[in-house]
């Protein structure tokens, strides 16, 4: 069993804090080399077989450096294959994905229609780094499917986003004919698949948010101690130090919830969704404060503040928005407290 702190130490060594958003392709190779593509693949299938806590720790570190490499969608895509009861060449796919081929799960809704002849048309949103993908794991009305990016009727269209640390694509289908051999579930099995992937996505994103938030806080605190106005470091002004204290408090509290959920095998889907909602809210709050506390420099492209803020704003939307997740948590809690 790999110790958590060893994993964290290795991640910090491979992705040092002072190198924000390291180049994507080199990072992807490094990530593959470290075995993180297989982190949650059971040992029987040739993976590391580590638990949620371990993958959460990795995503936290990747969040800290605003990683460009799409480890979260890759892990989710692989987990869809692991979960699949129907995929014909499951073993083959597991091997290919572990070896570094990329089949991401999309992280925004799919809006597609099925024609009478069974072909699919429409848009599948939130495909990160589609240019690297050999296939996309997509939720279709007929079930989850692997859609090869080079198949007929399949096109990847980049949608430039404010977040400079990631690249996002739409998978546009025009009369695409799903390959039965590449189905990951049928329509009935899609709910179970969705329920299995949701908590994984939410834990990973929550970790990404809080890693990012803690790096943002560190940088802000350092700047506040260094920047002098009125013959003193601005960190001496209580009006400002209290804001830093609140940033710290919110981060630590959201982290406590994240780790308790990651460790709790009995945590429900909704409880984990709540941890993502809270973490994304905190990330947004912290990055907003980060810019304000940096003053003018925080609004410049040369300073990294904006990179954190833009990532935070995008994370708020991924795999369920803050509002929709909070509503789900509220609805379920209300029902449970009948």
């Amino acid at each position: 069993m790999i110790e958590l702190n060893e994993l964290t130490a290795a991640a910090q060594k491979a992705f040092p804090a002072d190198n924000l958003s390291p180049a994507r392709d080199a990072s992807w190779e490094l990530v593959a080399e470290m075995g993180w593509l297989m982190i949650r693949l059971p040992e029987d299938d040739g993976g590391l077989g580590l638990d949620r806590e371990a993958s959460t720790a990795i995503h936290y570190e990747m969040g800290r450096v605003l990683a460009t490499t799409p480890l979260i969608p890759a892990q989710l895509g692989l987990q869809a294959v692991i979960e699949s009861q129907t995929l014909a060449d499951r073993a083959d796919w597991l091997e290919r994905l572990s070896a570094g081929e990329y089949a991401p799960l999309h992280m925004l809704p799919a809006k597609v229609d099925i024609a009478a002849d069974g072909t699919v048309s429409g848009t599948i949103g939130g495909v990160f780094d589609g240019d690297m993908a050999v296939a996309v794991v997509a939720k279709l009305p007929i079930g989850y499917a692997l859609i090869p990016t080079d198949a007929d009727g399949v096109e990847l269209v980049e949608r430039p986003i404010w977040d400079l640390s990631r690249r996002m694509f739409d998978l546009v289908l025009t009369g695409y004919k799903p390959d039965p051999a590449l189905m990951l579930s049928d329509a009935d099995g899609a709910t179970a698949m969705h329920d299995a992937l949701g908590p994984e996505a939410h834990l990973a994103l929550a970790a990404d948010c809080l890693g990012g938030a803690s790096a943002a806080l560190d940088m802000t605190v350092e700047y506040m101690k260094m920047r002098k106005q009125f013959e003193r470091p601005i960190a001496m002004f209580q009006a400002l130090k209290h804001r830093a204290a609140d940033m710290k408090t919110k981060i630590v509290v959201a982290e406590a919830l994240l780790w308790s959920r990651a460790r709790d095998e009995q945590a429900t889907r909704t409880q984990i969704a709540g941890a993502k909602a809270l973490a994304s809210d905190v990330f947004q709050f912290v990055t907003e404060e980060m810019i304000q506390l940096h003053g003018g420099i925080g609004l410049t492209e040369e300073h990294p503040c904006h990179l954190f803020m833009k990532r935070a704003m995008l994370n708020l939307q991924l795999c369920g928005s803050l509002d929709s997740l909070n509503e789900t948590v509220g609805r379920e809690a209300l029902a449970a407290m009948a």
Binding site: V221, M224, K225, R232, P233, A235, M236, Q238, K241, H242, A244, A245, D246, K248, T249, V252, V253, A254, A256, L257, W259, S260, Q271, G274, A275, A277, L278, D281, D323, L325, N326, E327, T328, V329, G330, R331, A333, L334, M337, A338
Partner: protein, 397 residues
């Protein structure tokens, strides 16, 4: 570690105890101070007998020695069953316990600990009119003298904001025995019997209509030197044990109680027909996760304390997280309750779940002001955890 089956067994044990014994109609029975005190005393005695009053004490005391996991189960079930909080014995079971346990002599422990379980209550005499956040500026003066052949401290001065002092048998008292050197150095810690001649107590009327705290006046009060905890002039260090108990241990109970009490918000949502109001569901959902996070940080805090890896400022984070969540919780209640909450309701003494959300909302300030205000905690977090520079010390008028 207690395993899940044991915990579930404890849970059903607590539940059946509560079914049989829990005080019904305690809110109506707490409309006057006397009634409140009586309900509190009865309930405390029942909990002591059942072994649920002091789960956080060590196991040499009956009902003590519970694991953290067991404590959580007990607090959660007490809250879910809507039992009154043990406000009257709050200071005795937390502050006095922690102070005695960590700093007192064996004689003092043997004398006072059992009496707490028999129902003796304590108050905390720290704050003064001129010493609030700046507690070490306290002036209540004690002079050591021999009177009637006995060595005593003769105390003169005033304390304020002392919770439940009007009902207390004993007082954790901070006095100034010297004004030389730094202000922390001349402070001494005493255990005082509230019936000592020269002590007078005057309750203070609060905004929610009750009288939770009081002023204490000292007129040549003689306190035997054996009642001192720690050495003379070293009371500041002892006071830290008292304050730490307030910022740490209590918050796990309170966090889990708030979680158990979320059902009261759910009830409001249903009563007012908001089940399909998405805005309200969102706010409720955000509150549920916030309260869960408070429980998680309180858990983590206590685990760290037990494992000896607590850091400076950790308790401040837990306190600010709890007090803000409590404010949000009671404010949502006021909002959802609509006009119902704007009519003055009969007072229920001494609880955060009085049945009237406006009262609870006003009460929630207790946690952002008492025990070191929210702002003071922020100073600690910024200066001691984030290592930001302190403000220049001196200031000239």
């Amino acid at each position: 570690m207690t395993d899940n089956a044991d915990l579930e067994a404890l849970r059903s044990e607590v539940r059946s105890f509560l079914e049989a014994e829990k005080p019904h109609g305690w809110r109506d029975a707490s409309r006057t101070q006397e009634d409140f005190v009586n309900t509190q005393r009865d309930w405390f005695a029942k909990l002591v007998k059942a072994g649920y009053a002091i789960p956080h004490w060590p196991k040499e005391y009956p009902g003590g020695g519970r694991s953290l996991a067991e404590q959580k189960v007990i607090y959660e079930e007490l809250a879910k069953a809507d039992c009154p909080r043990l406000l009257l014995s709050f200071v005795s079971t937390y502050h006095a316990f922690a102070t005695l346990h960590e700093c007192a002599s064996e004689e003092q422990k043997a004398k006072y600990m059992p009496r707490i379980l028999e129902g003796e209550t304590w108050c905390q005499g720290f704050s003064e009119p001129g010493a609030g956040s700046d507690l070490a500026a306290l002036k209540c003066k004690a002079v050591r003298e021999v009177r009637d052949g006995k060595e005593v401290y003769v105390v003169n001065g005033q304390k304020v904001w002392s919770t439940m002092a009007q009902f207390a048998d004993m007082c954790l008292l901070l006095v100034r025995t010297s004004s030389e050197g730094v202000k922390q150095a001349g402070i001494t810690y005493l255990l005082m019997d509230m019936k000592t001649p020269g002590v007078s107590v005057s309750p203070i009327h609060q905004i929610q209509g009750d009288e939770e705290f009081a002023e204490i006046f000292f007129d040549n009060v003689e306190i035997p030197v054996e009642q001192r905890v720690g050495e003379e002039g070293e009371g500041w260090a002892v006071a830290q044990a008292t304050l730490a108990s307030e910022r740490g241990l209590t918050l796990m109970e309170l966090g889990y109680r708030m979680r158990g009490a979320l059902g009261r918000v759910a009830e409001l949502i249903r009563t007012h027909g908001h089940q399909e109001d998405r805005g309200i569901l969102r706010d409720f959902g955000a509150l549920v996760s916030e309260v869960d996070a408070v429980c998680a940080i309180a858990d983590q805090f206590l685990d760290n304390r037990i494992n000896g890896v607590e850091r400076i400022g950790d308790a401040s984070i837990v306190k600010n997280a709890y007090s803000r969540a409590l404010r949000a919780y009671s404010k949502l209640g006021v909002r959802l309750g609509g006009m119902d909450e704007q009519y003055i309701a009969p007072i229920t003494f001494g609880d955060l779940n009085t049945g009237n959300w406006m009262a609870d909302f006003m009460n929630s300030y207790a946690w952002t002001i008492a025990g070191g205000s929210e702002e003071v905690q922020r100073n600690i977090i910024a200066e001691r955890m984030l290592e930001m520079p302190r403000e220049p010390k001196s200031w000239v008028l």
